[in-house]
């Protein structure tokens, strides 16, 4: 892959206005698939959660999952959309081996929800209203594994294997209108928008919304338009690219920034942007060209004859509207107050995309302060080092368990960090890591006293100083004891005992 030329970001923004658009796919967490009673669970053994419908077997027919329709309406309402009195499914025809019928059942000209907006808050405090064009229901495709060649990529693979467990999992695709005016905040807006969508679907309880598992997937459309001098008409919209495979909040931000810099370099050099899909590569932090969009993209949509229109009653819509959780902006204000965080602390949480994690950690019993400390601290640090999403590393329950062990005095901060490392490394629950690694704080005074006496005996000058009232000299002894205990002691208790023993 040839390295793209990139323009300095600030320079790019001077010359061009970024124009954005997003398609976010949300996998619904219904019990069964969109059109089949197969379990909506694709973590199982390959091709075990399939029915004739999922495999597109001859004679099989789809039937719509009512819960998926209800979830879609709820999501539409939460996005401020109107719910169509009548919407219908269509077939999107294209051949691909992960698509069992070689058409995808989706919604085309009559989506279930349309015309909404989402308020997004940026790290710098700026509020942006993102216009939502539509939200529609569709089915997911199966999963391909590429064998042979390098690193399981499609390029150079000898053959591929298909698992249809994911085929037919219900999706809602949320499509924004064109977003103008993001300006230099474009990357942050992209990230904040996807984080807000995630917050919405989590608060609705309709999706697990784990980006790293593909529950939430973002395709980002970006184009640049040259700035024109004041008073002159604006330039026409530029050619856009669609960046796919952006599977973390962090990547959304990075991918947008990258595409702006890449496109700006091409345009400034007198080149043209190719309308194409681009693939985001988390490892290299770059995008690469995918399939060019062309006239050959003829999906031959037509109304799905095996399914009938969805016509939700006004009563159903009102019932679902009444059950909506509070909007994310209100929720954020409420949580900030409830948790008692400062502006800075709360901004840290929001920017880290950690609202959901902290909510769940608090729900699991941790104090807000402890939850914030671990998520924005150690866990985010490890996530950054590894270039992954903090939420993918450890469950809120386990973080709460670590906080509880600290609270109970069984762990100090240093040990707690080790325990977290163990949990993240897959060594089990916090308690299991504590047991296996023998990480508990030594609470046996006898063992501590023995170590203290030994340290005092070997540093008679220090002992003398303490006895002279120079209490701060105790630090050297405490350090030696902590070292002897391999850090597994409560430093405060050690200090107490040192003073006690020194006093003789």
């Amino acid at each position: 892959m040839a390295k793209d030329a990139l323009m300095d970001y600030d320079k790019a923004l001077e010359l061009f206005e970024p124009v954005l658009g997003f398609e976010v796919h949300v996998e619904l967490n219904t019990k069964t698939k969109m059109f089949s009673h197969a379990p909506n669970d694709f973590g199982s053994d390959a091709n075990t959660n399939v029915t004739p419908v999922c495999l597109g077997l001859p004679g099989a027919l789809p039937v719509v999952n009512e819960q998926a329709v209800r979830y879609s309406i709820s999501l539409g309402l939460a996005l401020g959309c109107s719910i169509a009195p009548s919407s219908r499914f269509a077939r999107k025809n294209y051949f691909y081996p992960d698509l069992a019928k070689n058409y995808q059942i989706s919604q085309y000209d009559e989506p279930i929800a349309f015309g909404g907006s989402v308020d997004v808050e940026l790290p710098n405090g700026r509020q942006v209203t993102v216009p939502i064009e539509r939200a529609h229901m569709e089915e997911d495709a199966g999963k391909l594994t590429h064998v042979g060649g390098s690193t399981g990529r499609i390029q150079g693979a000898e053959y591929s294997l298909v698992d249809y467990n994911r085929a037919g999992v219900p999706l809602v695709e949320i499509v924004t209108d064109i977003i103008y005016g993001a300006e230099s905040d474009a990357p942050e807006l992209a990230k904040a928008y996807v984080a807000t969508i995630r917050d919405i679907v989590v608060s609705l309880g309709i999706s697990d919304a784990r980006m790293e598992r593909g529950n939430l997937r973002c395709d980002a459309n970006i184009s640049l338009r040259p700035r024109t001098p004041e008073g002159q008409p604006s330039a026409p919209l530029g050619t856009r690219t669609e960046t796919k495979n952006v599977n973390s909040l962090r990547s959304v931000e990075r991918a947008i920034r990258y595409e702006i810099q890449r496109q700006a370099a091409i345009l400034a050099d007198g080149g043209t942007i190719t309308q194409e899909t681009r693939h985001w590569h988390e490892d290299t932090g770059r995008t690469s060209a995918g399939r060019p969009k062309s006239d050959a993209d003829d999906y031959r949509y037509f109304p799905e004859p095996d399914l009938l229109p969805v016509q939700p009653s006004a009563e159903l819509i009102e019932e679902l509207r009444a059950a909506l959780p509070e909007p994310p902006a209100e929720r954020r204000r409420r949580l900030k107050a409830e948790w008692g965080f400062t502006d800075l602390e709360f901004q840290d949480v929001v920017n880290g995309g950690l609202l959901v994690e902290i909510t769940e950690t608090v729900a699991a019993g941790a104090t807000p302060a402890a939850a914030r400390k671990w998520w924005t601290g150690e866990i985010s640090r490890i996530a950054n080092v590894n270039g992954v999403e903090a939420s993918s590393l450890v469950s809120p329950e386990n973080v709460a368990a670590v906080a509880a062990l600290v609270e109970a005095g069984s762990l100090n901060d240093k040990l707690a960090r080790q325990v977290l490392e163990g949990v993240i490394a897959g060594e089990g629950t916090p308690q299991e890591v504590v047991d296996a690694r023998g990480l508990a704080v030594v609470s046996d005074d006898g063992a501590l006293i023995a170590a203290i006496d030994e340290a005092l005996a070997s540093q008679p000058d220090v002992l003398a100083k303490i006895r002279d009232g120079k209490v701060q000299a105790a630090g050297a002894v405490i350090g030696a004891v902590m070292k002897a205990m391999r850090g597994q002691a409560d430093a405060a208790r050690v200090r107490e005992l040192v003073l006690e023993r020194a006093a003789g």
């Binding site: 001859p58 004679g59 027919l61 039937v63 025809n93 399914l307 009938l308």
Partner: protein
């Protein structure tokens, strides 16, 4: 034994219930008949090797005193478009050769539960595309009335099986006439129920908004008995109606008593006569209409001005839906796989498989349907065809505001010779001119034999159509016509079919 095969399904059922005949005897008699004549007729693609076991179980249950359905123990031929767990299902295509379905079509499941004995899978035009069964990948079926002629299509196998006494009952599917037109040319009875009256689950889809499964039999009563078994709601088919249906067999019995014709308002569809309709077909039809009038029916001519666009609309909607429905035959999960020389990408493998696995008519319609749906043509073709569909429905609505049933010849000609229309797709498509409107509008239709055309001595059928959900009306009127004609002739029409297989 040969007496058994001549019985109607109703007659055989009665003897089974009275234990004059066992299910094993009934099944064996039909298997023997298949053995004797099917090398000539070629109605079957596969003959069951488990039918006798199934029959034995029915006999055991009956002996044990179990209450069984009215058709328990009666053999049933199943069109190969319907998937079955105990026999291959190919839909007449090479691409599905040997395909074994993990599930039974709902109609087959219901038939088994009612104690019917599936004895084999019948031949058909590939993926039900055709009007002559010449498009089967496994060779044509021959018309029992004249082995040099076509048995109609796409369900030529089911019609021929019933006409040749290889089975008393068969299942068919009708997308544009595939049950009714074969019935017409083989002197048998065929019913296309109201769209949604019978489940499509397990019927290998041709055109989802047109397909309907229905009975293929020798008498109207037998068809009613079979629709009573296979009809009704199926939660696996979203388009399945939830209506509570009256008994079609009861309607047929009522009709056979004759007085249902008095005061019945019968509309003769003006557009389904004249040019293109064979003289002898028209003669028999006109005689039958006169007979209805004589029995007290009020006959009026009804115009359905948009029927002349029906064939055109049909040959846009059907290929469009079929091009999508048949996309699943891609060699990935099931079916034939053809590897191009030197390997190839999955795309090339799919294209090579579909080139080799599909016959010329299937390719023709897939390409036509792809065209009708493609960007820039949708509104002109598929979109326009759907509007014509609305206009045809309105024609039916207007007609049924005036009359109780509509009648026409079931098809324009009697059985033609093999090869006669094979090279001229449009001529072949016009075979379905009379039957297509019912599919476009979802209304039920039946074809009932009304005699032999004077010029060629081949069977002719009348088509009766009723409003949506009024299937019972077809059975009442159909049975009345059948009873009147048989009384007039002194015999059934099918009894005049030539003997086969040296018998």
């Amino acid at each position: 034994m040969s007496d058994i095969i001549r019985l109607t399904a109703a007659g055989l059922a009665e003897k089974l219930q009275n234990r004059e005949i066992s299910a094993v005897e009934a099944t064996q008699a039909h298997l023997d008949r298949i053995h004797a004549v099917d090398s000539d007729v070629h109605a079957f693609l596969h003959v069951s090797d488990s039918a006798l076991d199934a029959a034995r179980r029915i006999d055991e249950r009956r002996t044990a005193g179990e209450e069984l359905g009215p058709l328990a123990g009666v053999p049933l031929a199943v069109k190969d478009v319907l998937v079955t767990t105990d026999m291959p299902s190919t839909s007449g295509s090479r691409i599905l050769e040997g395909y074994m379905s993990p599930f039974d079509a709902t109609v087959v499941k219901k038939a088994r539960e009612a104690g019917l004995i599936p004895i084999g899978k019948t031949n058909m035009d590939e993926f039900a595309m055709g009007s002559s069964t010449e498009h089967s990948a496994y060779g044509p079926t021959r018309n029992p009335w004249d082995l040099g002629r076509i048995p109609g299509g796409s369900g030529g196998g089911s019609a021929a099986a019933v006409a040749a006494f290889e089975a008393p009952l068969a299942l068919g599917s009708d997308t544009g006439g595939s049950i009714r037109q074969p019935a017409h040319v083989t002197g048998t009875v065929g019913v296309k129920p109201t769209y949604g009256a019978v489940s499509r689950y397990g019927a290998i889809a041709l055109a989802s908004s047109l397909d309907q499964v229905g009975p293929v039999t020798r008498t109207v009563l037998d068809a009613g008995l079979l629709q009573d078994v296979i009809g009704g709601h199926d939660p696996f088919d979203s388009t399945s109606l939830t209506d509570a249906w009256p008994s079609m067999a009861a309607a047929a019995r009522e009709g056979a008593r004759g007085d249902v014709l008095k005061g019945l308002k019968v509309g003769v569809v003006k557009e389904l006569s004249g040019e293109g309709f064979q003289a002898g077909v028209q003669t028999r039809f006109d005689e039958t209409v006169a007979l209805l009038q004589k029995q007290g029916a009020e006959v009026v001519e009804v115009s359905a001005p948009h029927f002349e666009y029906a064939v055109s609309a049909y040959y846009l909607i059907l290929p469009a839906e079929a091009s999508s429905n048949l996309a699943k035959f891609d060699s990935v999960r099931f079916g034939m796989r053809v590897q191009p020389d030197g390997g190839g990408t999955v795309e090339q493998v799919m294209a090579a498989t579909r080139e080799f696995g599909f016959g010329p008519e299937v390719k023709r319609r897939i390409i036509l349907g792809t065209y009708a749906l493609s960007a820039g043509y949708y509104d002109a073709y598929y979109g326009s065809a759907q509007k014509v569909r609305t206009l045809i429905q309105r024609d039916f609505d207007a007609a049924f505001a005036q009359v109780d049933v509509l009648v026409s010849p079931s098809a324009p000609t009697t059985a033609f010779k093999f090869g006669e229309k094979l090279e001229d797709p449009m001529a072949m498509y016009l075979n379905d001119v009379a039957t297509i409107p019912a599919n476009l509008a979802g209304v039920p239709g039946i074809s009932v034999p009304i005699g032999l055309a004077p010029e060629d001595g081949l069977p002719v059928g009348i088509q009766i159509m009723a409003p949506v959900r009024e299937d019972a009306r077809l059975y009442r009127v159909g049975a009345a016509i059948e009873a009147l004609l048989e009384a007039q002739w002194g015999h059934t029409l099918i009894s005049k079919a030539p003997a086969l297989g040296g018998k």
